[in-house]
Symmetry: D2
Subunit: 139 residues, 4 copies
């Protein structure tokens, strides 16, 4: 299995913009942390929606990497987010991802997003990913 460090290095190359840190990653799951920047806040001190979608997308990508290996060409094909509560602007966002299906050409995952320290999720995400054929033969 890939180490957290191997995944983190790969992530920096593939998602150079992301500030997400890999907290844990193993077959079928991942947790990533996103330190919220002042440029990511909406009026009222809450975190903008696209920031949350972006963190969920990274969490799902990390969980797939941890499950399949360093698959370069995996692409998000769909993402559904439900916003549940206002995230806190002064807390890190934690994204807890669980893979629901890891098929030959399609992966489906869900993510619960939290403001660190709170028990209730601020958003829930379901995403689907296309896995290129060639990369799955020798998995």
């Amino acid at each position: 299995m890939l180490s957290k460090n191997e995944i983190s290095e790969f992530l920096e190359t593939e998602f150079p913009q992301t500030k997400c840190q890999v907290e844990s990653a193993s077959k079928g799951q991942a947790i990533v942390r996103h330190p919220v920047g002042v440029d990511e806040l909406r009026p009222g001190g809450t975190v903008s929606g696209p920031v949350m979608m972006s963190v969920a997308d990274v969490a799902m990508y990390v969980a797939i990497l941890a499950s399949l290996g360093l698959v370069k060409e995996t692409v998000t094909t769909s993402l559904t987010i439900n916003f549940l509560r206002k995230p806190k602007g002064d807390r890190d966002i934690l994204a807890d991802c669980k893979i629901l299906k890891l098929g030959k050409t399609l992966a489906v995952a869900e993510v619960s997003l939290f403001s660190e320290g709170d028990a209730d999720a601020v958003a829930h995400v379901v995403g689907t990913y296309a896995i290129p054929r060639e990369n799955t033969i020798n998995k």
Copy 2:
């Protein structure tokens, strides 16, 4: 009806981070333009998914403003995006939004996203918005 300028000014206050420009906005529809920055590209020269979600979110917000007036507290409650084709990194993103339902407490809208100059959409979005009760009484 609100002018394009009134909406643009309101947008700058509510979404200070957005680079979107309002191309057109009237009851039930809006078109916004997003100039893609180099910091928004993924390896391979394509536009990152969260950037597209963010542009769609702004287009839906603008269409709701153009339909209801300057409603401050409208919040995105859900967003579903399907990625259809790779957007081009050297073209503006255009988001064409049509409101599907404008209820008393809920609005539903769809958006087709394009790389400028192409006929086929790069992504399709459906979003739902909660409209605060007090703001809809005197609409």
Copy 3:
């Protein structure tokens, strides 16, 4: 809290077509069982998609009833289903629902659907429900 019997009776009035039986229901969760009929199979012996959506919808409705009381006017506003594996035609479908948010006007819930006896879900659903204002005042 409502008893399983009270919810079952209410369900028969509101969803006269459903064959779902309430297995458990309490604040924030519900499990319902659907015996699959031969008229609900697709060629190949698998359960049709709309049957699964229908069972998930009932599970979410039951979980909301168990949480809010016998709210008559609650309506589904959106439903997203991801089909994960082929359900077995000769097994009951079990729907395990967890409420993600119970707001004043909006509830969000997720459901995992199983062929009885299998550990892996056959489908995953997220649904949103509009709760009428008048019914939530005295909850």
Copy 4:
């Protein structure tokens, strides 16, 4: 291109339960009609949600058949429905489907559902379909 009759016959084999009639079908689009039965009504005389999902699913399937040929193994992988208005219990449901993407392994389509005679849609659906590799080689 397949004729309406060829598609209708195929549909009867693959979806023996459906009452949908193919109104039109050509590359990239389809319209199907569903006569609402009394057993499909909810209290208040409106059409149940799962019936609408089912009609949308058939419309998308017909549009894919009309575009790709009689592909047997195409399966729905996800479906998102937004309910917009109450459908009328005494009118046929018309489903107007447009394919958004027809890829090698994945198709994405949207459907607007109407009560016949009304201009405003009662529901909007986006669905994704997996197309088996072997069936797409000789398309």
